[in-house]
Symmetry: C3
Subunit: 148 residues, 3 copies
Amino acid sequence: MATAKGGPRVKHYRRELWLQTPHRRDYVNITPQVQEAVRESGVRDGLALVNAMHITASVYINDDESGLLADYDDWLEKLAPHEPVSAYRHNRTGEDNADAHMKRQLMGREVVVAITDGRLDLGPWEQIFYGEFDGRRRKRVLVKIIGE
Amino acid sequence: MATAKGGPRVKHYRRELWLQTPHRRDYVNITPQVQEAVRESGVRDGLALVNAMHITASVYINDDESGLLADYDDWLEKLAPHEPVSAYRHNRTGEDNADAHMKRQLMGREVVVAITDGRLDLGPWEQIFYGEFDGRRRKRVLVKIIGE
Amino acid sequence: MATAKGGPRVKHYRRELWLQTPHRRDYVNITPQVQEAVRESGVRDGLALVNAMHITASVYINDDESGLLADYDDWLEKLAPHEPVSAYRHNRTGEDNADAHMKRQLMGREVVVAITDGRLDLGPWEQIFYGEFDGRRRKRVLVKIIGE
């Protein structure tokens, strides 16, 4: 329900999550860390933005089921293959991660999740994932929350 | 325009839309229902988050033109085919909807739409769609609004 | 950090950016214009929504590197080719831009960016891009900001 004019004022909160994945590509369920950020924020109703701060990684929402994660990995490799590295102009700059920039577009940079009654307002199977496509180094996810 | 310090306080609003589509894949224009939610919220300026609560469906914004909807359907089936069902590891869990999890990533989980002067602030052809990729059962879309 | 109950009230701001690109497909870095909108809004902490108002264009975040932009262009053309125009039902309406509606879904309609201490809260290489897939005419991007 909408609050009345004399209602509460806006709150905001910011947190960075640090991740380092062991492989070039990995899929990490970060729902507990985001829920913890919501709790810490004290926001009862509002929106949580969760975004990869790096452009070869994604934050997306889908199922935490190992078969599906393997299917995503195969599918992304089919639509945006890592090899041959020389097929991408971006890799002439000395990088080998052009495919990761494509994969991140397919899976998306960010999610915005509703907060209701102080909790992430997720559907029954919705889990927030960090999708890494050029890992093996420390990278960040930003959680920014506004609401009341 | 930004409001001054003594300006209005934050409002929030939540509504679920229920949908049951007749086919495995369907595309439903939900703009009127979202506009009605904005009206009910009493929010004049803010943001509306509209997201599928199920991980085999999308909320996206594009044209309400029957030829385009048929093109999307063909295109999604080409990039993430339903058959052969056995090609996906996820389907070994007893499901047959792994392709729907891929299609939903292509079309996206959510949209965030500006609210200005109490109305959805959409471009001339922008229409909010529910994209169903594993239908024939009751599923939900969440509308969460914050603003003033 | 979350602000206390007696904290600031909600502010909002709206601006349209107009763009006309010389080619059918173009990629334009609009980060400076969005940063200028944030400055004008006076919002210190909040969220900025940046969305294409046209359904054959994208707003996305990735690298401003010419090789990568060329790679994106090739890749999008491979996944959703412009030719043959007659392969799309949408084009029977007299349009020739059905592929642009697909490309826009791959790259996305919008980004939501955190605002912290009065600035866009972006990772080291994050740049906000307008992706045009049916250009050579004046089109708009919407910037809507809420926060405190």
